[in-house]
């Protein structure tokens, strides 16, 4: 009989930091660029060179530590992790071993639309350097190395084995990503590899206390790949156990293209990294006042913001999420709401027309002239029926890109809503005469064609007609 299994997941997230320069030299920290253009004797590990720690890396890591409620070890050290690989020119990675900068935190992740949450433990966050990249070229039979990424600063965020499904893992990863963005410490560009993760999976029969044997998976390059990799690995382990076998502790490599993983190395081949304190660098000492100042600078975090939108502004989770995912959009929403704009209307404009107009032009909010004041004023004009919702679409585009005031746009474009019954009556009569078929359908009881007729009237008034008045007139004249 098939037993029920529980899946146990732990994640190690590597995030590249967006500091201006690399972690141990003055080279530019930038993705892309010509091969081996952003490197120097230090980051290519030339004999005799020495690392000098970029303190911004320490501050970024502490920011993340604060965001995840960690204990900050403001006195800590860096260690060498020794192994041979052509993309690692010193043959050791400078990382942190027994004393990470941040330790013992937790992250609350939202699991559903009702706002149910789960707390995932964060074991540690430490700083380290990235390695280079092996590349291949048709004109050369061997491997080539690009050292541009060498020495790019990373933080590694290690979770407790607290997740029980790939969905929880996805929620955790999404939350980590949004926090990195809110703190503005990582570009979070998955396609550039600025966030990567290693996934640890084990399974156990429901009710069993001890963890099952753990398998580590490497080469998981996106969050959706993490979901597929976890589901695949959990199923593989359950099948093994169901067939009377056992799970072997090993490292496996995920191949997302074929949706399978394969053994990379077994426990017996586990590398001995011979960690020891890095003698070229001094002990890291961050004054407590600096640690406190970094905490004080922390912005409202995405989870808290999402909850606030859901529970205080009564927005659906979908709308709230859209505002949270785009921090500048959320900031504008907050400012407009503070000026009295109704939450739902403000969210709809920002997530709807504003987002669409930005998307079409490939711009961000900062590239436009939209202010909280103008947005609130426009919404107010619609609420007060000075302009129609349709006219609002014209107004929003103008105030975003021309910088004119709402009232200027309304008067220049003649968008003020017509609520003069006399003027509208002739429009309605004309529309009715041109749409005899619809009138017939209405009379036959298909009353929802009234919407179509209102639309025709709006078009005839170039969006200026008061739609409620038009509806009333239509009903009156047909009836």
């Amino acid at each position: 009989m098939k037993k029920d299994y529980e899946i146990i997941i732990g994640l190690e997230v590597h995030a590249e930091l967006n500091t201006k320069s690399k972690i141990f030299c003055t080279c530019k920290n930038a993705f892309g660029g010509e091969v081996n253009a952003n490197c120097c004797p230090v980051c290519t590990g030339m004999p005799g060179t020495l690392p000098v720690l970029n303190e911004q890396v320490v501050y970024s890591c502490i920011r993340m530590g604060h965001a995840l409620g960690c204990t900050i070890h403001n006195i800590c050290k860096q260690d060498r992790k020794n192994y041979f690989y052509p993309d690692l020119p010193k043959a050791y990675q400078i990382s942190q071993f027994d004393v990470p900068l941040c330790e013992n935190g937790a992250l609350e992740v939202m699991l559903d639309d009702e706002g149910h949450t789960k707390t995932i433990g964060v074991t540690r966050i430490h700083i380290e350097e990235d390695a280079g990249k092996l590349i291949h070229d048709d004109n050369f039979s061997g491997s080539l190395v690009d050292f541009n990424r060498c020495g790019v600063p990373l933080i590694e965020i290690v979770s407790e084995p607290d997740m029980r499904s790939s969905a929880e893992a996805k929620a955790y990863l999404d939350t980590i990503k949004s926090i990195l963005q809110y703190l503005n410490i990582s570009d979070c560009k998955m396609q550039e590899g600025s966030i990567r993760c290693d996934v640890n999976v084990s399974v156990r029969p429901v009710g069993q206390k001890e963890f099952g044997t753990r398998v580590e998976m490497k080469n998981v390059n996106s969050f959706s790949a993490a979901v597929r990799a976890i589901d695949y690995e959990a199923a593989r382990q359950i099948e093994l156990l169901e067939d009377g076998g056992h799970v072997v502790q090993e490292t496996r490599k995920w191949n997302d293209a074929i949706g399978e993983n394969m053994v990379l190395r077994s426990k017996e081949d586990a590398q001995d990294y011979r960690y020891f304190p890095e003698p070229d660098l001094l002990t890291i000492v961050v004054p407590q006042e600096k640690v406190d100042a970094l905490r004080a600078e922390q912005p409202e975090l995405p989870n808290a913001r999402c909850k606030r939108y859901m529970f205080e502004n009564k927005l659906p989770r979908f709308d709230a999420n859209l505002l949270v995912e785009n921090r500048d959009r959320g900031d504008l929403f907050d400012a407009a709401a503070a000026l009295g704009a109704p939450a739902k209307a403000a969210a709809n404009w920002l997530n709807g027309d504003v987002a669409r107009l930005l998307g079409e032009r490939g711009l961000t909010l900062a590239d436009t002239k939209l202010t909280a004041e103008s947005l609130a004023e426009m919404i107010d004009a619609i609420e007060k029926k000075t302009i129609s919702n349709t006219a609002g679409k014209t107004v929003i585009e103008e105030i975003m890109f021309s910088g004119k005031s709402v009232s200027e746009v309304i008067s220049e474009k003649g968008l003020a809503q017509v609520s003069d019954t006399g003027a509208l009556r002739s429009v309605v009569e004309e529309v009715l005469s041109k749409n005899e078929k619809a009138v017939g359908e209405y009379k036959a009881g298909k009353t929802n064609v009234i919407g179509f007729l209102v639309g025709q009237c709006m078009r005839a008034t170039k969006g200026k007609g008061n739609p409620e008045l038009l509806r009333k007139l239509l009903e009156e004249l047909i009836g």
């Binding site: 004797p41 290519t44 590990g45 030339m46 004999p47 005799g48 060179t49 020495l50 690392p51 000098v52 720690l53 060498r80 020794n82 041979f84 052509p86 020119p89 010193k90 043959a91 050791y92 190395v145 001995d272 011979r274 960690y275 020891f276 003698p279 070229d280 660098l281 001094l282």
Partner: protein, 486 residues
């Protein structure tokens, strides 16, 4: 001959326009030509570049520019200090063709001071050794007796200075590599306080112990060179924030009231009777000048060699891992895949002593052995450092032998690494405790070979070391004697 004179004297002659830098450089290059076939101090001679540097100094002086004291003075460089575009081999097959793309900080400082570089000097491979016999390039002979070793690892530096093949030299010292060859060759060598000279560009042996220092025929010359190379460097995180005096003005203050500690533990350790006698006589000479001599105890001395070999080998195993045949230097041919490339390049590129230390270091860092070795080594290091700190509460300087014996014959100890390691027994504690120490000549043994007196001070006490050493130098009527070669 110009090459026989001290840097201090030559600097004054250059400043007065009595000689030109080109003349001086020619004199040194001529001496190299004349004797280096026998001494073997140089790995690379940069005659053309040196003459260019000298000519540049002369033309600046002709324009009436005020130049630093080192302008026009030949300073030869140990071959583990990176010189842009000039071979820097560490006397290893592994780096037989390595031309660094950048200059070490000390080289930049020497260039800025107008120093002239006649060439790069032989050493034990990657600075591991006490006789220069671990060089993969050549043997260096002691100028006082060509059948004997010059000491090591900065043996080329010591031999070049002692023979007049340079006026000054830079060495590096991880466990005695400046002081022990200085002792063997009868010259002055300073291992500065850890952190006072930038390590940027020094190809690392043991990062927490390595320090570049001056080697010269007189104490004043060592001070002149040290003036130029010491100081904070942003590119070396372990470089100290410290203000340094003009060391050439720190001498001549006498030794009256100077408290000199003599640690009894340094006179066991296989120190020969003649070395012990010469050192104690030198101490007595200082006593006669008003110094107070105190017997002190540094009880952990006998454990220092073990701590030294654990810590230095551990760091070396990591520092030397980058030499893998992939990026520069020696690369094995006929390879079958990446692992084979690593294994063959490293097996063929490194010499036995280097491999021995890499294996030792890899072992002491291995999972399961780390606590028993590396961690205990670090604990011992703390203990040795605190014993020194305690000793310096009761004395200003400490006097010991530099090397327990005079220079041995070439080949005598090559098959006995432990005997070779014992040559460092009096010097390693200084590196372990991050202290400055100087070796100066104090007589000769029955074999006619120089004996060295080691003076050790607290951190940043170089001024006191120069003063005491210069006082002793004046007592014996000066050190600057170049032996007849051959």
């Amino acid at each position: 001959m110009l090459y026989q004179k001290s840097a201090t004297e030559l600097s004054a002659m250059l400043a007065r326009g009595e000689i030109s830098a080109v003349e001086l450089t020619r004199s040194v290059l001529g001496r190299i030509e004349e004797t280096d076939g026998k001494v073997g101090a140089y790995v690379t001679v940069c005659a053309e570049d040196a003459l260019k540097q000298a000519a540049a100094v002369d033309s600046r002086r002709a324009r009436g520019e005020e130049l630093p004291a080192l302008a026009g003075i030949p300073v030869a460089i140990k071959d583990n200090i990176c010189t842009k575009g000039v071979l820097t081999t560490c006397s290893s097959k592994m780096l037989y063709n390595f031309k660094p793309p950048y200059n070490a900080t000390v080289i930049e400082r020497l260039n800025a001071a107008g120093a002239v570089m006649p060439g790069k000097l032989n050493m034990d491979e990657f600075a591991m050794g006490s006789s220069c016999e671990n060089s993969a390039i050549k043997l260096t002979h002691n100028p006082h007796d060509l059948t004997r070793v010059p000491g090591g690892s900065s043996g080329g530096s010591a031999a070049a200075v002692a023979s007049g093949e340079t006026i000054l030299a830079l060495g590096s010292d991880t466990g005695g590599s400046i002081r022990q060859p200085s002792s063997c060759c009868g010259i002055v060598g300073l291992k500065p306080t850890y952190g006072s000279v930038s390590r940027y560009g020094l190809i690392a042996f043991a990062s927490s112990l390595d320090q570049i220092g001056p080697m010269a025929r007189t104490v004043g010359d060592a001070a002149l060179l040290y003036n130029t190379i010491c100081g904070r460097d942003e590119r070396d995180a372990t470089s100290a924030h410290h203000t340094y005096p003009d060391f050439t003005k720190c001498m001549g203050k006498g030794v009256k009231g100077l408290r000199i500690g003599v640690p009894k533990e340094y006179f066991g350790l296989g120190v020969t009777k003649e070395v012990e006698k010469a050192v104690l006589e030198a101490v007595d000479a200082l006593r006669a000048e008003g110094a107070e001599i105190r017997e002190i105890s540094l009880p952990s001395t006998d454990a220092a060699l073990a701590a030294y070999y654990i810590i230095s080998s551990a760091e070396a195993s990591s520092n030397l891992a980058r030499f893998d045949g992939v990026k520069y230097g020696y690369r094995a041919r006929e390879i079958d895949g990446l692992i084979d490339l690593y294994e063959k390049s490293r097996s063929e590129g490194f010499g036995d002593e280097v491999k021995r230390r890499i294996m030792l270091g890899t072992f002491v860092l291995s999972s399961g052995f780390f606590d028993a070795y590396y961690k205990r080594g670090k604990v011992l290091q703390q203990k040795i450092a605190s014993e020194f700190a305690e000793a310096f509460e009761g004395c200003d300087l400490i006097a010991t032998p530099t090397s327990p014996f005079t220079a041995f014959r070439l080949g005598e100890n090559v098959d006995d690494p432990l005997k070779m390691y014992a040559a460092d027994i009096c010097t390693v504690t200084v590196n372990i405790a991050s202290l400055p120490a100087m070796s100066i000549p104090c007589g000769t043994g029955a074999d006619g070979m120089p004996i060295g007196l080691q003076l050790i001070g607290p951190r940043f006490s170089e001024a006191a070391l120069f003063n005491a050493a210069a006082h002793y130098e004046s007592l014996v009527g000066g050190f600057n004697k170049i032996p007849a070669i051959g």
